[in-house]
């Protein structure tokens, strides 16, 4: 039974969500997002094992690819912002409030 794997995935997901909401450092927030993706991956692989199908593993594979692409672009953005603002705090990008 894969219940425990699912519970673990849920716990990791929630931890990742908390991290996004709490941390101000852009990189740590980004890493929390990666943690959430990994938790989803774990759930996918667990279900693949449960249903005896490769589809879950293939899906997990694609999630990894997409996560990699996302990290590439996201870090490029963070570096760009850092070059102009000299800070990585996500709170600095609050111009939407005006």
């Amino acid at each position: 039974m894969i219940d425990q794997y699912l519970y673990l995935a849920v716990i990791l997901f929630v931890i990742g969500a908390i991290g996004v909401m709490i941390r101000r450092n852009a990189l740590v927030a980004f890493m929390s997002v990666e943690l959430m993706l990994n938790a989803a991956n774990l759930a996918l692989v667990a279900f693949a094992w449960h249903h005896a199908s490769f589809d879950g593993q293939v899906a997990s594979f694609f999630v990894m690819v997409v996560a990699a692409a996302e990290v590439v672009v996201g870090l490029a953005i963070i570096v760009s912002i850092y070059k102009t603002r000299r800070s990585t705090s996500v709170d600095n990008a609050n111009l939407l409030s005006q």
């Binding site: 996004v20 909401m21 709490i22 927030a29 996500v90 709170d91 990008a93 609050n94 939407l96 409030s97």
Partner: protein
């Protein structure tokens, strides 16, 4: 014992077919003078006089025709056109030329014509005199509509028209704020009376389906319950407004702001008598309701005393005459309220009063003309020498009003006092008292104006008026003397079919009541001479006893109106404004403030921080997830 003999009018033939010209001529004159006046500046006044003269000629012709006709066909109805018909109502415009209306038509066009001629002289130096004559013509047209109508609705059209003309003419000297205020006051108070008229006409339409005199006269006997009294009281309310009877009397004294010819024509001879006309014309209603008649009697009695009281304490010559008018119309209303016994006397007194009051007003105008338009009698004195024609004509009117034997006022007023005594001793005594007070204050007026030593200011040169002003005075003075004697033996029989009155015997020698009246009048004159004739009249009004103070303040009529009507209405409107501002606007304001507060609070959600948005997303996912998952589970 009420007998309603209703005379149905015959159709109009011959000259009666042109009865509408009587109204059309002055109306045309008014139209030309008011709309195209610039082209007729020079001849305007004469055009106005011409139209009135034309109407007078037609009126005389019709009168002669009626005199020649047999008594049962002396009511002629001329149907002009159908105004509108809706459902079961058909409202026509038509004229009724009968004994009552032809007398009024003669009075209006005759006295009106004389006043037009007088105005040629009086208003000669006024820059807007063309307009003045236009308004005068408008007034005559409206008044003729009023008296010649054959149904209450057309009568009401004329009623409103004279109200309008009165407003325009009282406020003729627009630059004077007091004149504008007086015009507004007259109009507004008339409106209250008009409300009564409208309600009465609506009641008639509801009950009879028509407001024509024929239908009302025939149908009055079929009314049940309180309708007859209700219609009677509503008509009385209308009459009070137009005739300046208590409680709607406060506007008449202020109306003296208008030029003197206006005061003479409108507020003495014709418009203010429209109320009496209305009551007499509606005799079918009043005959059937003792309560309505009692109300009329009470109104008339109270007013005749109130008017006399006011007249004793005013220093303004026109205001004394206005109080006198109010009082004399009180006599007429008293007579009309007595019922069939008094209708004819009311009309009789109305006609003679038209002559002598117009005479006195025009005389006052002549005095003012000579005294640089000063109206304060305390600055007159000893004018008999300087204004002989004015003095003698005024004296004729004075004798008529106090009821000097054989003048016209003597005949008409005596009949009323006698009828009052027949009605009830109290009413008779009050009417007699009024006669005495009338004699008193008219004597005061004569002594202050024409008698005694001169009190006028420096720079005033009293001089007699030109011929255009003195000739009408002479004509009216002659009428004041002879009109009573001429009509005395004849008017009751003449009016019987129209007014439903019961003719009395008229004797040559006065009755005991007549002797009593003469005594009271003589006493009044004596008291007046004793108080005002012996000593020099002070130039400044003395403090006066409480009665005099009350009279000087118009019996506090304005104060009463203010407390009873104006202040409550003002309070109500202020309350409405305050409610609107505070409650309604406040309520709306509360809503807007709440919305504003909500949006201020809501704005805080958009603080621009990514982490707040992440939080919002998580909470949103929570909500959606809860709905979906728990929904699926359930």
């Amino acid at each position: 014992m009420i007998q309603l003999e209703i005379v149905d009018p015959v159709a109009a033939t011959g000259l009666f077919g042109y009865a509408w010209l009587m109204i059309a001529l002055p109306a045309l004159g008014a139209l030309v003078l008011l709309l195209f006046g610039r082209w007729v500046e020079k001849v305007g006044p004469y055009l106005a006089v011409a139209t009135i003269t034309g109407s007078f000629v037609i009126a005389v012709a019709l009168f002669l025709q009626l005199l020649a006709a047999p008594p049962e066909s002396r009511a002629v109805a001329a149907h002009l056109y159908t105004w509108f018909s809706t459902g079961s109502w058909q409202l026509d415009v038509g004229l009724l030329v009968d004994q009552l209306s032809i007398l009024f038509a003669l009075l209006i066009t005759g006295v009106g014509g004389l006043i037009h001629v007088y105005s040629l002289g009086y208003m000669a130096h006024d820059a807007r005199k063309r307009r003045f004559f236009g308004y005068l013509n408008l007034f005559v047209a409206a008044m003729l509509t009023l008296v010649l109508a054959d149904n209450y609705l057309v009568l009401f059209v004329g009623w409103e028209g004279v109200g309008l003309a009165s407003y325009l003419l009282i406020g003729f000297w627009q630059h004077k704020p007091s004149a504008a205020a007086a015009a507004k006051k007259a109009f507004v108070m008339n409106r209250v009376g008009d409300l009564g008229m409208v309600l009465a006409i609506s009641a008639m339409l509801a009950q009879f389906g028509s407001s024509a005199f024929i239908d009302v006269n025939h149908g009055a006997a079929t009314l049940t319950g309180p309708w007859v009294t209700a219609i009677g009281l509503l008509l009385l309310l209308g009459a009070c407004g137009k005739s300046a009877q208590v409680p709607l009397q406060a506007w008449l004294l202020d109306a003296m702001e208008g030029p003197t010819p206006v005061s003479a024509l409108i507020h003495a001879a014709t418009m203010v008598t429209a109320g009496v006309y209305l009551v007499v014309r509606s005799h079918a209603i009043f005959d059937l309701s003792a309560d309505a008649r009692l109300a009329v009697v009470i109104v008339g009695t109270v007013t005749l005393l109130a008017g006399a009281w006011i007249g004793t304490s005013k220093d303004d010559i026109k205001k004394v005459l206005a109080g006198s008018t109010m009082s004399q119309i009180g006599y007429m209303m008293l007579a009309a309220g007595i019922g069939p016994a008094g209708y004819a006397f009311a009309i009789f007194h109305l006609l003679t009063h038209g002559a002598f009051k117009a005479n006195m007003f025009l005389g006052a105008g002549s005095v003012m003309h000579g005294m640089n338009d000063d109206v304060d009698m305390r600055r007159y004195g000893g004018l008999a020498k300087y204004l002989p024609i004015t003095f003698w004509t005024f004296a004729m009117g004075y004798l008529a009003i106090i009821g000097f034997p054989l003048t016209s006022g003597y005949f008409s007023k005596d009949h009323i006092i006698e009828a009052a005594f027949h009605e009830s001793a109290l009413v008779g005594t009050l009417a007699l008292l009024g006669a005495g007070v009338t004699a008193f204050y008219m004597t005061r007026l004569m002594l202050m104006t024409f008698g005694g030593g001169k009190r006028w200011a420096d720079g005033v040169h009293p001089h007699e008026s030109p011929a255009t002003m003195t000739v009408p005075l002479i004509v009216l003075a002659a009428l004041s003397l002879v009109a009573g004697a001429a009509m005395n033996g004849w008017i009751q029989d003449w009016l019987e079919p129209a007014a439903g009155n019961h003719p009395h015997e008229v004797e040559l020698l006065p009755t005991p009541i007549g002797w009593l009246t003469m005594l009271v009048v003589a006493a009044g004159v004596l008291v007046g001479w004793l108080v005002f004739g012996r000593k020099q009249i002070p130039a400044v009004a003395p403090q006066g006893n409480p009665l005099a103070v009350a009279g000087r303040n118009d019996l506090f009529g304005d104060a009463i109106n203010d407390t009873l009507v104006v202040q409550p209405v003002l309070g109500l409107s202020r309350a409405a404004v305050a409610t609107d501002a505070k409650a309604l606007d406040g309520f709306v304001g509360v809503i807007t403030t709440a919305l504003g507060g909500l949006s201020v609070g809501g704005r805080k959600v958009q603080n621009g921080y990514v982490r707040s948005y992440a939080l919002t997303m998580v909470l949103g996912v929570l909500v959606v997830g809860a709905v979906l998952i728990l929904g699926l589970a359930a």
